[in-house]
Amino acid sequence: MSELAIQPGTSEEHGVQPGLSPFRASLHRFRKNRLAVLSCWVLAIIVLACFIGPLLLPTEADWDNTSAPIDLFSAHPFGTDDLGRDHLIRSLEGGRVSLGLGFFGAIVSVLISVVYGATAGYLGGWVDNWMMRAVDILLSVPFMFLVILINVGLGKSNTSLFVAVVITLWLTPAVIARGQAVSLRSREFIEAAKAGGMTPWQIILQHIAPNSVNVIIVYSSLLVLEIILTESFLSFLGIGVQAPAASWGTLVNDGAGRIESDLRLLLLPGSMLAAVLFCLNYITDGLRDAFDPNER
C-alpha cells in the first residue's frame, strides 16, 4: 500500500455543495432515502402509541375475563393476559419503558465509548495501555457479578437498571472505537491537524471521535435492541422493571416461556420490538449515507 499516492486529508474530506449548508444538504439527501423516511414515520407512530395509548385506554384488570383470546371487535382486540389486563395496552406500556431505556441507554453508552475509545486509541502508549486494561478488567468480570454489585450499591430502582445496562454495554463499542482510533491516528489529516497546532483533546473530540462514530453508529442501532433484551434478563434476576410494571423485555421473556400454549403473548410485543428494530436499522443506514463526510 505504500505505493499509493495519498492526497492530503482534511480539507478535502468536508466538501460542500454549492448553495446549501452542509447540514441541509445532508438532510436533503436523507429525505430522498424513501426507506429511511418510511421507517421514521413507522417509528414515530409506534413511539406515539406507546406514550399516548395507555393514557387513553382503560388499564384496569378484568378478573372475569382472564386470558381472553384475540377478538378484534371486542373491548380487548388483542385479548387479555392471565391477570385480565388488556394485552395491547400492556404491550404499549412495555414499549414506553423499553424505548425510553433503549434510546437513552444507547446514546449514553455510545457517547462514553466513543470518547473513551478515541482517547485511548489516539493517545496510545501507557495511557492507552491503562485505559484498555481497565476495559479488559471490566470485560473480564462476568456480566452477572457486575449487575449484582450495582444492585447492592444503588438499591433497586430504574436508575440502577439504567446504570447496569450502560456499564455492561459501553465496553464492546469502546474496544471497536479504540481500534478505529488507532488506525486513524497515523492518517494524514490527523498529522495535518497536529501540525496545525490543535491540542490532543481537540483532535480527539473534533477528528478522532466523529470519524469513529461511523463505525460505532452501525453498532448503536443494535445496542438499542441489546439494551432491551438485556433488560429482560435483568428483570428475570430481579433488578429490572418491577412488576406490575412491564417492558417489552419482560413481556417477550414471559411470552417465550409460553410459546406452546399462547403464541399471542409473544407475538404482539415481539413484533413491535422487531418493527422498531427494522426501522432503526434503515434510519441508521440512511443517516450514515446522508451525513457521512466522505459521501459525495
Binding site: 499509493l4 484498555m132 478488567i137 470485560l139 452477572m144 457479578f145 481500534g179 463505525v215
Partner: protein, 306 residues
C-alpha cells in the same frame, strides 16, 4: 513480536490480580450467603458451615489464602456442587462450551463476512436489502425463541436431529451451534457491510481502482484487509464470551457446558466457583484480546507492536 506477546502475557498478571480482588470483595458485599437457601439452620450450624469453608476468617485473610491457593493451582471446592472441585467443574464443562462456541463463531464469521461483503458491494439493491433483513431477523428473534422453535420443528416434527442432549454424534451439535451463531451472523454482517463501504471510499482503494486494478483484485488485495479490522475487533471479545458458554443455549439444549456456572455461582453465592469462573473467563478474554491485537497488526501495517 515474540517480545510483544511475552510482555503482554506478563502484563496480564496484575490485571488478573485486580480482577480477582474486585470480584472477591464485590461478592462479599452483596447480600446473602451460600447458606441462605436453607431457612432452618440454627446459628450454631451456620457457624459450622462458615467455618468449614473458611468464611469465618477476616476477609483479608480469606483473600490471601485464596490467592495462595490459586498460585498452587488450587481453586478450592465448590460450595454448592460439593461433589466436584472448581477445577473439575471447569475442566469437565469447558471443552463442551468451547466446542459449541468455536463452531458457532466460525459459522457466524464465514456467513457474516460473506453477507456483509455482498451487501456492501451491491449497496442499495435488493441484495443489500435482503442481507439487511436477514441480519435484522437474526437479531430481532431472541435465541430463547429460536431454540425451542428449532427443537420443535427439526427435532420433534421432522425427527431429523436430536431434541437436546450432548451425545457423541455430530447431529447433537447442529441445532445449538446454529442457534448460537444466528445473532452473531447478524452483528458481523452489519459491521462488515459498514466498514466495507467505508473502505471502498478511502483514497487508497479509489486509487487502486483508478490505476486500473480489477474490481476483484481491489477487493481482495486492498479493501478486504482494511474492512476486516472492526470485525476482528468485535470477534475477539465476542469469541471469548461465546466459548465460555451461553446459559440460554445450554439450558434449552441440556448441554453440560460452563455457561450455567456464571449465573448459578453468583445466584447461589458459591464464592469459590465465582472466583474460579471469573479468573478463567478473565484469562480467556485477555488471551482473545491479545490475539485480536496480533491479527490486527497483521491486517494493518500501521498498527505497531509498541
Amino acid at each position: 513480536m515474540f517480545q510483544y506477546v511475552v510482555r503482554r502475557t506478563l502484563g496480564s498478571i496484575p490485571t488478573l490480580f485486580v480482577l480477582a480482588a474486585i470480584t472477591f470483595f464485590m461478592m462479599r458485599v452483596a447480600p446473602g450467603d451460600p447458606f441462605s437457601g436453607n431457612r432452618r439452620l440454627t446459628p450454631e450450624v451456620l457457624a459450622n458451615l462458615r467455618r468449614a469453608f473458611n468464611l469465618d476468617l477476616p476477609l483479608w485473610e480469606q483473600f490471601w489464602r485464596y490467592i495462595w491457593g490459586v498460585l498452587h493451582f488450587d481453586f478450592g471446592p465448590s460450595i454448592k456442587n460439593r461433589d466436584y472441585s472448581v477445577s473439575e467443574l471447569i475442566g469437565i464443562g469447558f471443552p463442551t462450551s468451547l466446542e459449541v462456541g468455536m463452531w458457532a463463531m466460525l459459522v457466524a464469521a464465514i456467513i457474516g463476512i460473506a453477507l456483509g461483503i455482498a451487501g456492501a458491494l451491491r449497496r442499495n439493491t435488493s441484495v443489500d436489502y435482503s442481507v439487511g433483513a436477514i441480519a435484522m431477523v437474526g437479531l430481532a428473534i431472541p435465541i430463547f425463541v429460536i431454540g425451542p422453535v428449532a427443537q420443535s420443528y427439526f427435532g420433534l416434527h421432522l425427527r431429523w436431529l436430536p431434541i437436546s442432549g450432548w451425545g457423541d454424534s455430530w447431529t447433537y451439535r447442529i441445532l445449538p451451534v446454529l442457534t448460537l451463531a444466528l445473532p452473531n451472523i447478524a452483528y458481523i454482517s452489519r459491521l462488515m457491510r459498514g466498514s466495507m463501504i467505508e473502505i471502498m471510499r478511502t483514497n487508497y482503494v479509489r486509487t487502486a481502482r483508478a490505476k486500473g486494478l480489477g474490481e476483484r483484485r481491489t477487493i481482495l488485495r486492498h479493501a478486504l484487509k482494511g474492512a476486516l479490522l472492526p470485525v476482528v475487533a468485535y470477534l475477539g471479545p465476542a469469541t471469548a464470551i461465546t466459548i465460555t458458554g451461553s446459559i440460554v443455549v445450554e439450558q434449552i439444549f441440556s448441554i453440560p457446558g460452563i455457561g450455567r456456572y456464571f449465573v448459578d455461582a453468583a445466584i447461589n453465592r458459591d464464592y469459590p466457583l465465582v472466583m474460579g469462573v471469573t479468573l478463567f473467563y478473565g484469562s480467556i478474554v485477555i488471551f482473545a484480546n491479545l490475539l485480536t491485537d496480533i491479527v490486527r497488526g497483521l491486517l494493518d501495517p500501521k498498527v505497531s507492536y509498541e
